[in-house]
């Protein structure tokens, strides 16, 4: 039993799991094994959602048992069971809940960010320094550039907006992407040789 608890086992599993698709990608060999492995991932991800459901129930049933936020927990479990049941019992109600309740509510929550952006425009966007001035000029140009009606009236705005988008903006993002790519390679190499163990939960 102590053998199964050894840290080397998950590291070896990680190395095999990640090297198989890599070898397949670069050499074309082991394609059957790599393909099989990829279908395992789909199965594993599906099971991870089951773990999520179990955790959801454990957490909220525990809350109810201890009398902590009982109403919220009952609401969460009740909503979950109701929506699960309705998916099988009445498809039209299920669709209605998604289109008319879930979608507008989700959009409302996302829209909060939009509202607070406007207060930032009023309170935070100050011409205090040369960099702030530059940032604000770009903000105004891009705001107007992304407004089709304004763009229709001012072709010069398209030229300036395109330049900002395609030159400084793309350049900066290119740098970020290259940095991310190199970091991923380094992280992968460290994980393969067992130097990176945070994904094992050990920190």
């Amino acid at each position: 039993m102590s053998f199964l608890r050894r840290i080397e086992i998950p590291i070896i599993l990680f190395a095999i799991g990640s090297l198989l698709p890599l070898i397949d990608y670069y050499t074309g060999n082991l394609s059957v094994q790599a393909s099989e492995l990829l279908s395992w991932v789909v199965i594993l991800v599906t099971f991870s959602y089951l773990i999520g459901v179990v955790n959801l129930f454990r957490y909220h049933l525990n809350n109810i048992r201890k009398g902590r936020d009982v109403y919220y927990s009952v609401l969460v479990i009740g909503s979950f069971l109701f929506y699960l049941a309705i998916a099988y019992l009445n498809k039209s109600i299920y669709d209605w809940i998604f289109s008319k309740l879930y979608t507008p509510l989700s959009m409302s929550i996302s829209s909060f960010v939009g509202f607070y952006t406007y207060t930032v425009f009023l309170r935070g966007a100050r011409l205090k320094s040369p960099t702030a001035i530059l940032l604000l000029i770009v903000t105004v140009v891009i705001l107007l550039y992304n407004t089709p009606s304004i763009r229709a009236l001012s072709p010069q705005l398209i030229t300036v907006g395109d330049w900002i988008k395609n030159v400084p903006n793309t350049g900066a993002y290119r740098g970020i992407l290259i940095g991310m790519g190199i970091s991923m390679i380094v992280l992968f190499m460290r994980a393969i040789i067992g130097r990176e163990r945070s994904y094992l939960g050990g920190g």
């Binding site: 998604f98 989700s106 406007y118 105004v140 988008k165 903006n169 290119r174």
Partner: protein, 278 residues
């Protein structure tokens, strides 16, 4: 008790919110009919989809979350309508699939149910909905290399052998055009689907567009649509008006309002500073 303590929101902020709500409500009550300029990237996407030929298979990956429907949904609807119009006009075939989360498949179902006219089309021969295949980037990679190995059934439980249009789809080389919508990172799609010489189109949030541009520059992504403004342009190109054109006036007013707030905020700041309060 002052205003902030009572409501948690300062009075000025509440005024900003109220004016914003009024501004976006005006065009909903009485459309202003403001002019529209169609961006070159929208025309490019339209052209790539329109150029599909009879028998070509287009695969559209609907991966955006429900909360971002306002930005991504209108263009997604416009593109679905265009693709389904092409099924009728040219005889193309369409695969719809989700890889990121269940939200995407629910969005796809909603679009098929409420926005797209599928009357007269044969499911399984003209189009299929594969639903959500969990795994995200892994699924994208698997679909590109061994489609039949990863896709076993569609969203409704039909096995792949009962869907004639999928019988000959073995890998990405059998697909003529790939598109995807996302409200998170665009990175996995060009990483897994971008190196095959196929058109790869993205429909995403306006804030994600800059993220896609390095890929677009290298043609790993061949076209992009960013939020409602491009959706409105796309609707105009297809001649099928929808939410994009309907919200165009509100979007214009809200952007002008944003610029106005920046100007007012700075006038306020410099006036207070000159008076020794800033």
């Amino acid at each position: 008790m002052d205003e902030v303590q009572r409501t948690g929101i300062p009075l000025v902020d509440r005024a900003v919110f109220m004016i914003f709500i009024i501004l976006i409500a005006i065009p909903a009550i009485s459309p202003l009919g403001l002019p529209i300029s169609i961006s070159s990237n929208t025309v490019e996407v339209y052209r790539q989809i329109e150029d599909l030929k009879s028998g070509d298979i287009a695969m559209w990956i609907t991966d955006f979350s429900v909360g971002t429907w306002g930005q991504v949904g209108p263009a997604e609807v416009a593109i679905y309508r265009h693709l389904f119009d092409l099924i009728r006009r040219k005889g193309i075939k369409v695969i719809i699939v989700t890889t990121y989360s269940v939200d995407g498949s629910l969005n796809a179902e909603r679009i098929l149910r409420e926005y797209v006219d599928t009357r007269g089309l044969k499911y399984g021969e003209d189009y299929v909905n594969l639903g959500w295949i969990p795994g995200y980037e892994t699924t994208l990679m698997a679909m590109a290399k061994d489609f039949q190995g990863i896709v076993k059934t569609d969203a409704y439980g039909n096995t792949i052998d009962k869907l004639p249009m999928l019988r000959d789809v073995r890998s990405i080389s059998d697909i003529a055009l790939i598109g995807f919508s996302t409200s998170t990172s665009p990175d996995p799609y060009p990483r897994q689907l971008g190196g095959y010489g196929k058109p790869l189109i993205i429909n995403t949030l306006i804030a994600t567009v800059p993220w896609t541009l390095p890929y677009y520059e290298k043609r790993l992504i061949t076209g992009y649509i960013g939020a409602e403004s491009d959706a409105a342009g796309y609707e105009k190109l297809t001649g099928m008006p929808g939410e994009g054109l309907r919200t165009l006036d509100a979007q214009t007013l809200s952007h002008i309002y944003g610029v106005g707030l920046i100007i007012i905020g700075n006038i306020w700041y410099f006036t207070r500073r000159r008076g020794g309060k800033g």
